[in-house]
Symmetry: D2
Subunit: 410 residues, 4 copies
């Protein structure tokens, strides 16, 4: 019997591992690898405490799942031991396919391969390794399992993933306003007609949860300087890929080389089983170490971009409710051409636009059902005694312009 | 020089007293009396930790004022030392006129005398005692002082009173979701055209503040069991007053006797200076001690109501979005008549209806102005990128029915 | 089925009531009465947040007991359901016999009657009321029950009482250094030979627990101003008793009158069953309300002492490692005689000495046994790799002198 | 004027940058580099939250320094603005010379070069860059500055470094018992005869501080699994160095290559100014990325060790109060030789012993002086009313044995 069953967690105090097999899964290299992938990518450049990893988040979600199972059972709904184990494995592994800086990589080096697919591929490998013991977990993860509410605990508006990451991200960034009362929300969970719902008396907590999430989006996840850092990473990887395709030599780790020098597609992953292994060798270290070395690369653009990343001289960024006018872009591009002695095409590594969007609550996609005292289910945006949640349903879109500090705004 | 300048506070850590005179004011019996008046009346019957006093809240508000002064000064606005002292005194004394269980008393024993008037009367007395040194504080409190933003720090949508009580009430009740980031909000305060405003980047914090306040209203301040307890207190005091007026003898402290056996009006307070002194002798002890003794009173109704309070057998209460039908009231009244062997009139001490209301944000009454980056001022409900705050402007009204546990709902 | 099974607690978040019968016990007037008795008496005059009650502490201890039962069971030791219920009732009621300001009353009005005896009398009454269902709880409380470790959970160096009150007192005073890791300590509990012991790896946590307790003693429980306030209360009650015995009329509640005007002994409690009922009507309200009225009493000494209490003009106090010399006492007494125009005997209400003591760890009385990895048990003071705990075994005694502010030290 | 003057910190809420020049120093690549060096090396393998960096610790120490300056000034001691700036710079840069995994590197790759020397070299470079503006800071750091207490704020038993790292390490590991009341301790700082001392009333806080530190040592800094991880890193680097010296090719970053393939001495650093630049390119990324690649290296020993690190299969470790007997070492060595098919010399990469030590309080090295009320200074171990701190003065030494999991203990 493995003794190390308790993890210290600054947020929940102690995290106990509820099943023997889970300890073995945690010990597997595929999961240990998550120790080297930060949950929030480059956010620590703005919030210096935001260094927590996907590993810790996976443990935290597992912890909340244990509480949710307890609550739901205490309200008279059956969750068998195998189901409890399976749904806990499912949440533990829900993000196992994330590569380093997921979004940046998906926009540059491993285009077209979504992390959820990779998660499933990895779960299948683990299932082989553990001789079929993960089958029910995979079935729940894919929403094939008959008891639908189990999947909802893993993936829905009120899943354990979200409850943990809002708390965890808010804790480590120090943006204390993102804290949600996961305790209170979990205690109010109920199951009606095989649907995960929430008792009416927690309606204000749910409102606050939606607002907290909205706040975290604009204050952290889409913070303009975080965005500038992430876009810098995308541009670095795009430039490196461009150079690699053109046959230039670049310092990389062997694992990164595989993906930088080849354009692997989803079907490659299916055809070459060892490709997944290679992918699983990638983590934050491969990317950032290469960037540090590229500071000294001959290519002026790559070197310049990398220096910006390493010394934290990020793009300047403007956010606007309206699209950025081409005129403005042109002016900045002209400036960048002159500053970096480059052509218009290459100047686009320094001056570019894009958009970001967020909607706080989207019932079309996935409702939060409130269980009223008379037993009926109502969507939260209808159940609220005012229309404030309904008012949050629309998508908010914003536009940004990145440009170099050398080009002073006019 | 008095040495005890630091108070321990579980919320802020330490509270320092910023001016010498304030220490003397705190030591005055009028302020010491606030140690014996709970901030949240009977709320501790639902949230057992909610025992904090108006004294502690006054100190907490003072602490936040010190921070606000520092922030505003650091942004280049002048607050002279006398002004800083005065606005700090004003916040310290803003609630000094509260009697015990303010609302219950104002609805029974000291009808027609509002606690704000009493606060002003007490400040005037203190001003005499301190030889005019409180004049500027009083002027700020009454909004007579030229620099209007100083008054707004004491009384407005974002005053230090509100920031402290939301935090403090949420802390002591354990309803952690009511916590507001007072630190963050205070750091974002600005003054424009002599108006207290808030910088645009804190807009989501302000949204969360409004939601937190809404949550505290329904979860704590208007919690149905809290309401049932407060209504029980009102009914007890009304019955006691009725008996007193009819010449019955009741155990009371001398101070309570003055107000129970006489119907003092505002003009009595003006005409009889010693009446204020008597009022200032009243605190939670006088009321609750009397109730404990009244458990044994001959009057069955008074005794019954008091036993309910002392042993925490409160009214049952129903909350409804529609007014309670007279038919329902009549049925419960009939039941109560039979249970308590009484007439219909006296049964109304056990069965009655009422309404409660709250609006989360009311710009008609007092706006929260957001300072946008281009320097214009916008009302928060307009500044938000969605309409959710606007949606909170309406008043939410609910109706309640109180009835005895002996009368089982049909 | 009573639904209200969850209490909000600022410290543990939520406290669930683990057994149906416990809810009924909590609802009983004998337990509800603890809502009106502060855990720390007059400590709030120094730490304004320290207003928490014995009721909340009882709930908190019950919560920790639930955790301890879970831990001990998970390590393979049997605690049957009836035992779990009984030990939880025992901790809930462990302090039920405390009167208001226990120590002050025991030194003045109800001399010779210890609160533990009263607790047992009340438990017996409750046991009658609940038809014998508390018998096992009482047996555990009295240490008559065969499984000895159950009693140790209720009363020993590491009982749930102590773990809760250290945390709770430290939380509400704001003396954050008194916090102990109850979570961590409870998780390390073990049972060996029917003894409650603690696993070796928590040895530093236990050291810290002992230091935290020592700190709380000198910083809070024996804080000199707290001591001055408590001694003022003792002197007030002694004077009131003296006046009552001499036939003077004093304002009191009927319950307090019973004990102020009669010198009841333990045998009176046995002979007159209704005396316990009367005692259970007493709470903080009776005492403090009377003191407020006594401010206006004809007896100058009583009135003067009471004014000090109500307006927080406490004794000045000096603490010394040596006994206070009689010479010093005499000088202050002479001063007090002159200030208060009284004789030497009555001056002793204003000038007097006494001593306080504390020992941080007393293995003679009750050991903390550490379970080493090889299975042997060692006393903590021996188990520590240094002698620092052993160094704390001696009793520390200090002496104090109280005197009025009017008598300036020479 | 640079606007970004506030850092979010989960521990202190907000950290403000107090001086303009400090913002420029923080922005300098030498300081930005600390963002990539974890404060606690490999501790996160045991406490998954312990990912915080030396950068964040530097900011935190700076924050506490601001508070300390304020307190000391408020007690009437002069700290001029230039001194305040200098002492703040000194604390900000106190650890700037730390390389990645300092201890591991100092025991393998950069032997004989202590991080404090590197700190000074870097400060000198920065001083050139900032045209002499760091001269006073350097003077304080080196304890050359006349006002000695300024140096003590940077480096002594109660310096801001220690107060921050205890709090920070305890916060991020989740070992809540390491928390010290930095607020309370700082408020009690005083200066007497140019010495930093602490007021008598905080004596129990200081005791708790010493105990907390002791606890953190054994629970975190010298935690046996942390030790096993660190020793694994040392062995990896020693093996890599051995291979490099023997002319084998190893994947490294250019910066690491410089130090792996050359045995640079302190005089090399003096002779070759660019060597410091190279050293400042090293961070956690270089080391760990190389280790990840070395998993596939031809050398079986290196590859095996690296796999242990990457997949978290650490040494087993035994801690003992007595030295490990050679007999035991020999048995494990024999086992390792057989398991890894190697000779005795190479087996020492898998089986070895060592010792660790800690003393909680060492007055010989650096006293904590308590200022008693009569103005005299007493060492804390004498001032305590018991001998418990004195008991902590001795050094506690323990011995460890590392061995591979394949070799089951007999």
């Amino acid at each position: 019997m493995n003794k190390k069953k308790i993890f210290n967690d600054p947020i929940y105090g102690f995290i106990s591992v509820p099943f023997e097999i889970i300890l073995d899964i945690i010990d597997h290299p595929y999961v240990q690898r998550l120790r080297r992938i930060r949950q929030l990518g480059l956010t620590h450049l703005v919030y210096p405490g935001a260094l927590h990893t996907r590993f810790h988040h996976a443990l935290g979600s597992m912890h909340l799942m244990t509480q949710a199972i307890e609550t739901i059972r205490s309200k008279g709904h059956e969750i068998t031991q195998p189901e409890a184990e399976a749904v806990t494995i499912a949440i533990l592994l829900h993000d196992v396919g994330h590569g380093p800086f997921s979004h940046a990589l998906e926009h540059s080096v491993v285009e077209g391969i979504h992390h959820e697919e990779v998660s499933l591929m990895i779960m299948d490998r683990l299932n082989q390794h553990f001789e079929g013991k993960l089958s029910m977990a995979i079935s729940i993860f894919k929403d094939d399992y008959p008891k639908k509410f189990l999947h909802q605990l893993v993936s829905s508006q009120l899943d354990m993933d979200r409850l943990d990451y809002l708390n965890r991200d808010s804790f480590y960034t120090g943006v204390s306003e993102g804290v949600v009362s996961s305790d209170r929300i979990i205690k109010m969970l109920e199951v009606v007609n095989d649907q995960l719902v929430i008792e009416e008396k927690s309606i204000y907590s749910i409102e606050k949860f939606i607002i907290a999430r909205r706040l975290m989006y604009w204050q952290v996840y889409l913070h303009k300087t975080v965005l500038a850092a992430e876009m810098l990473l995308v541009k670095i990887l795009l430039r490196a890929r461009q150079l690699a395709m053109a046959g230039h030599e670049l310092f990389t780790t062997p694992a990164l080389r595989e993906f930088l020098y080849h354009q692997h597609t989803r079907s490659d992953f299916n055809a070459q089983p060892e490709l997944l292994l290679r992918f699983c060798e990638l983590d934050d270290y491969d990317i950032f170490t290469s960037i540090k070395v590229w500071v000294h690369h001959d290519d002026k653009i790559l070197s310049r971009l990398c220096m910006g990343m390493v010394h934290r001289k990020l793009y300047k960024i403007k956010i606007s409710k309206q699209p950025i006018s081409q005129l403005v872009v042109d002016e900045y591009t002209t400036c960048a051409q002159s500053v970096f002695e480059t052509n218009a095409e290459d100047a686009s590594y320094f001056v570019f636009t894009g958009d970001i969007e967020n909607n706080a609550y989207n019932p079309a996609h996935d409702k939060i059902n409130i269980l009223s005292k008379d037993g009926t289910l109502i969507d939260i945006s209808q159940a609220s005694d005012q229309l404030n949640i309904q008012a949050l349903e629309g998508v908010v879109k914003k536009f940004y312009l990145c440009y170099p500090a050398e080009c002073i705004p006019l």
